[in-house]
Subunit: 315 residues, 2 copies
């Protein structure tokens, strides 16, 4: 299987420049180990790294295909990212969302000008394919595509530029697009650094799969137990092949460790993180014994948190 | 009176490089007016812009003076900024804090290795001068010094670099060091932009003073009414002279407008702001009719908020 290259990621970096924020690395002075930098991808325009991949995918289309429009299936940050990218180019976007999606996320997607189609959750991927065929739209999948992986990898390129002697990079793993891209960039630019994937214990299918050497399926209901709603997907063949190549180890974190990390990020780093965005900080804080020592970057992947959850963790 | 120049600010920018974070401008896509960028100074190492001025002041000392150490009076972000800067250079720092200062802030200052001296609030400035004389320490005041103003001005320089066609810059006013420095940088680099100072209605002494053309004193107890605890100071002769020169207008905001802005910053911008850091966003959101139209930067000055306050605004 052909993997995304550093040249693909460099090309993506040119495309996303000026649209994705060049997020700074934030050294954390309160940390007694003195070796933590945060990469705050929650500060991207739609509140998550997803903009990098979605924008790269839409920007990579030829003009005729792009003009016909794009379609995706997602209830989360990828939906908003595709809607945002399509609006940037002034082309139609159709987002298929499960009918159980929170109304606030549906409204946010509509606010970017996208057409939202709601269907039962087990039909939403099929419906997107159907709409693509019927209307001539291009499907922009959440992670299973080289352009998505290359786009997400631009965050890794920036880490390598800003902290060339980084020793450990912590990155969340769900469908694996982010970890694949960031891992590929770090491998190429900082070959001595270790790339560690982080999953919630309750959705640790990639951890199990990488240990066994092949993809495993966890029941949807099991993966739905974690509050990290952005980490309930599973790698595809394409992303799994990347993870095997560019991720050195996996670490899992508990739900309580995720909650603690959200609180620490808000009060010490002054960053609002969603549960999925806090798992890397949770690993750094609670799983030090399982991590290599040294200069560590924890990628904070997103900040679209339920206000009541955040409030309850602070009060 | 001699005012800080753009050359002073450029020299300060060289000194703070690599210590202060080069904070990005964050365009806010949720804003229906589509003209808001945030400058997130809450992401500085100590959680506030204060690091810029304090570090510039300590870095500007000659080696012998710096080696003897520094002293300041503050219970807030300036205290931590001076402690952090002194630790960077490995020199002693003594921070005089009022005995009513919150323990959490005292502990944060001690954590940076500073010696903390607690005295009654009406003695803390005098005590700092006394310690400076007795121990040969250099006093690093919170705002009344050209090196502090020039250091704070580096935030303005970055705004001008990142958004050269900025039309409106919103900056909080308390002692006036930040507004003086940012205003001087914007005047020099973006002469067509308007610099607007923002105060809480309950501590609007600079607004009144600029209208009257001379400094006015508000009773401490009056200024203490606002939740924006970082905006209770008053300009000095030096900063007031700058404000008259580089601030085009003042806007005041209510306590409720500040609270709303903290909530919006957390949920839409994913930034934790303290009340003082939220006043500029409050002005943009609630006082549009009093502001010039156009591309606007709101400087979010700090993020050291009381967790219970933040929690209560989200729950």
């Amino acid at each position: 299987m052909e993997l995304v290259t550093i040249a693909d990621i460099e090309a993506a970096a040119k495309r996303v420049e000026g649209v994705a924020v060049r997020t700074p690395l934030l050294f954390q002075t309160w940390d007694p180990r003195g070796s933590l930098w945060l990469k705050p991808e929650n500060l991207q325009p739609i509140g998550a790294f997803k903009l990098r991949g979605a924008f790269n995918a839409v920007a990579s289309l030829d003009d005729a295909a792009r003009a016909r429009g794009v379609v995706t299936y997602s209830s989360g940050n990828h939906a908003q990212a595709v809607a945002y990218a399509a609006r940037h180019f002034g082309v139609p976007a159709v987002i298929v969302v499960p009918d159980i999606a929170p109304r606030v996320k549906v409204e946010a997607t509509r606010a970017y000008g996208a057409e939202v189609v709601q269907v039962p959750i087990d039909e939403h991927e099929a419906k997107a394919h159907e709409l693509a065929a019927a209307r001539g739209l291009t499907l922009v999948p959440p992670f299973d595509h080289p352009a998505i992986i290359a786009g997400q990898g631009t965050a890794g390129l920036e880490i390598a530029e800003d902290l060339p002697d980084v020793e450990v990079v912590l990155v969340p793993v769900s469908g694996g697009g982010l970890a694949s891209g960031v891992g590929a960039a770090i491998r190429a630019r900082c070959p001595r650094a270790r790339v560690i994937g982080v999953e919630p214990e309750l959705a640790a299918d990639a951890t199990e799969g990488l240990r066994l050497g092949h993809r495993v399926d966890w029941p949807t209901a099991d993966r739905a137990r974690t509050i990290a709603d952005g980490l309930r997907a599973q790698p595809s063949d394409l992303t799994f092949a990347h993870l095997r190549e560019v991720v050195d180890a996996m670490v899992t974190v508990t739900e309580d460790e995720i909650r603690d990390a959200i609180r620490v990020l808000a009060l010490r780093a002054r960053l609002v993180a969603e549960p999925s965005g806090a798992v890397t900080t949770a690993a750094y804080l609670s799983r030090a014994a399982e991590l290599p020592p040294g200069r560590t970057v924890a990628l904070v992947s997103g900040g679209n948190v339920d206000p009541a959850l955040l409030g309850s963790l602070l009060a």
